[in-house]
Symmetry: C2
Subunit: 121 residues, 2 copies
Amino acid sequence: MDETLLITKALSDRTRLRIIAALSGGELCVCQVVELLKLAPSTVSKHLHILSGSGLIRSRKDTRWVYYRLSGKGSSKKAQDALKWARAALSGDKSIIEDSKALKKITRVSKEALCRAQIKR
Amino acid sequence: MDETLLITKALSDRTRLRIIAALSGGELCVCQVVELLKLAPSTVSKHLHILSGSGLIRSRKDTRWVYYRLSGKGSSKKAQDALKWARAALSGDKSIIEDSKALKKITRVSKEALCRAQIKR
DNA sequence: TTGACATTTCGTCATTTGGCGAATTATAAT
DNA sequence: ATTATAATTCGCCAAATGACGAAATGTCAA
């Protein structure tokens, strides 16, 4: 029951649902999620930590950046099924659609503005 | 997103997950759920209220007793799918199995001991 | 009608949660 | 080496949550 509870608790927050939906479009680095949510980096980091702990998302570190993605194969069936439900439940949601629009802009400019160092290489 | 959040919040508590699993065996009256959970009636009532508000369960009043059941057709697809996921996630869980054993005893004796008035009719 | 019972509502309290900024860690640029 | 950047951890605070008992509500029994 503990794993199930970790999952439902992870999904029981508006911000974390937004993160799940945002990651449905592919992996994002923390700074991009911060830009989308307009929350303090420390706050976002905590949410990502909670989602990670539930097995719903995974992280990968690339030099200075940490990228998060929805966890696919390799995660538990419970987590996969929960993700499937959550993504379906959120699809079509008004605020989620706005988020994905905002995300398009963010991923377009992030390489210049958000992560300036990245473009300089 | 609000309905989705109501559902995930409803599922994000150990006691409420136990209630969902308990109702998988069929409807129960509040006093039976109280007996199973060993919590104060007021506490159980509040949990049932939260689950009702999310659309995951429904109630029916029969004279002096109120019976709760998992909501089926007629509830939203989100709720139905969430229930399906939750029930699958909980099936086989150790503490849930113990609960269902305890429930067997409760439903067997409740008509005599728990709801004495009921047998007197 | 009076009393008993099932359930809910209300008020209270301790714990958890979500937010922030400051400090810390790790990595890259100068 | 020093500085700057991305992310995390820590400590703090306000708000939400889950527990209880007392009181209120509605229904049945005597």
